[in-house]
Symmetry: C2
Subunit: 358 residues, 2 copies
């Protein structure tokens, strides 16, 4: 009798261990700490991160949690690359062109002047070798990088006076950061770097003549449309994609199902941000025009576009000099753009042209 | 001593039951049967379904399986709506405008002539009330409907002769199905319905003068570019979205985490199809022109576009007559399009225009 009980007990202990092990495996929670460039409650950009975390948590039944720290918490909005690289955070949400100091080739994965629009660029990422090139750039830093949302085609900026030719740019005081600023400087623009909080006053008082921000959705709250009438179409960021960065060690610790959940949540959140930006820009542009009837849309004249294009080519050549990987990325984007743009032109562009005149 | 063993055994049995129950809940597998309109190994459309099923299975660690039946299996490519509605299948992948006989208002959720392009339409679905209206249409049939992938802007078709004005359409024999066919018929086009397998020969022998299919990606294998030189931009399906349909009972049986996994897998697969179509169309259009240098792109002249627009308005009015929900959907799409198109025009369209001339 005692032997039977012992056998029974042993069997139960064994089953129990198997049962509990399966259950505890299924219930093991992984928490990833994410630092974002954006402040708390940041529209569109911050919402995209929350949306991603929410999908991941629901899909994993609570097993994958993303704890988000906004810029007010970590105090390093442009330090995301370093903080994820050194493991201070597991993940980041930022724009890779902010890090052209530490990792110059990262900038190509946000957007390039005269480059691809959002759907073309996603096609390059997922079918034209873009993801592989991006990984080649980030791998030496122990990082994985994924598309993190598109702002759509960014506007060329708010101008207080019309730009009728390339001569009007000479000496123009403008806030336009990064690579686009360097290109503008080639055309004689006095590029200034003024903190976001002071831009409205600077434009109002004439400290600057023009300002480039994002597009209607995010420009609306900046209020530039209240003090500058001319809203120019862009050339500099035709499809600006922000990025998720992940520390490779943190990624490797996740089981395969949670890796896939995280990968798909990021991919969906990125597309969703493009669509949310499309929506929000439509709403905001309509409100701007309703509230300020003097606000009007302009496109840069052909000679300005030509000069900007030439200056872009010059700067790109300088940036890529002596860097075979940079040259490879530029060549890959250029080849891809040439092909896909012909399709865009006979489909969406032709269609939009044919109905625009009505 | 025996009492201790008994207590121990009772405790073990209890823990075992809890452990096993947690483990078996975590491991419970749900299999959904999906019927697709498309044949086996169908490029892009069929790949989208497989991609969705693959993501769902990986994200759920095998707990959610989608068993896909192609048209050769269920023999009812245009019976998906009925088969999912009556529970013969749990899910379907199809285009809702195939069912305008049984559920006329479903057609608005695929595409509408002179309607929105893909990103505009996704914005309408997810931010402009489109999903809610779609659900209103499908709910009485016990179905849920989700976007299932976009072909991008469809081309107007392959023509053997140039169309120089609206008079050239009178008596033209053309394959163009559905609502677009009805509109074309208003302009005097002799709309014919020829099975896909016979279209090439019909066009070659002059049984028809023109054929509308999809776009370069799917037209390529049909070979029309070998026998017709003029490829016209479209007006009839500016952003054709296919659909996932799900039987409400099958959906309700899934636990919340698997519902979210399925929802996100469908959403991502839909966006991914739009991007894959963009890529594949770029590649195919480039090959067509390389292999057949006489192939050339055309846009319909303004008077043709105007006549098509007027005929579309007339038919839409007829379709919506006496149907408040149809009128509501048309009004919602029209309002949304008016707003979002202004954004598209000052962003992507202006940008594409400004760089096209170079």
């Amino acid at each position: 009798m005692p032997t039977m009980i012992n056998r029974l007990t042993r069997g139960l202990v064994l089953s129990l261990m198997l049962g509990l092990s399966a259950a505890s495996h299924a219930k093991e929670t992984h928490t990833l700490r994410l630092a974002q460039t954006w402040g708390p409650n940041s529209p569109i950009l911050g919402e995209t991160v929350e949306h991603m975390a929410d999908m991941a948590e629901k899909m994993s039944d609570g097993r994958l949690r993303i704890r988000i720290d906004a810029a007010n918490k970590h105090k390093a909005p442009f330090g995301i690359f370093d903080m994820v690289r050194n493991g201070q955070y597991d993940m980041g949400h930022t724009a890779s062109y902010y890090y052209k100091g530490s990792i110059p080739n990262a900038m190509f994965f946000t957007t390039v002047p005269f480059g691809m629009i959002a759907p073309e660029q996603y096609a390059w990422f997922y079918h034209g070798g873009g993801m592989e090139l991006m990984q080649q750039v980030y791998e030496p830093f122990g990082l994985l990088s994924f598309p993190g949302g598109n702002t759509g085609n960014q506007m060329g900026g708010w101008f207080r006076e019309e730009i009728n030719g390339v001569e009007d740019l000479d000496g123009l005081k403008m806030r336009t950061p990064g690579f686009a600023g360097e290109v503008m400087a080639e055309l004689g623009v006095a590029v200034t770097n003024i903190p976001p909080g002071e831009l409205y006053t600077a434009l109002e008082r004439g400290t600057i003549d023009a300002v480039e921000w994002v597009g209607p959705a995010l420009d609306f709250n900046m209020g530039f449309h209240q003090i500058a009438n001319y809203y120019y179409s862009g050339w500099q960021e035709p499809g600006a994609e922000v990025q998720f960065l992940i520390n490779q060690n943190a990624w490797d610790k996740l089981p395969a199902d949670l890796q896939e959940i995280l990968r798909v949540a990021m991919r969906t959140a990125a597309y969703d941000m493009y669509i949310q930006s499309t929506h929000a820009s439509g709403v905001a542009w309509s409100r701007m025009k309703d509230d300020y009837p003097d606000v009007t849309h302009r496109t840069f004249p052909a000679d300005v576009i030509e000069a900007l294009r030439a200056a872009t080519e010059k700067r790109l050549k300088e940036v890529a000099e002596g860097d075979p990987l940079a040259q490879q990325i530029i060549a890959s984007q250029r080849r891809y753009l040439e092909q896909v743009r012909q399709w865009t032109n006979i489909s969406d562009k032709s269609y939009l042209d044919s109905v625009a005149g009505e």
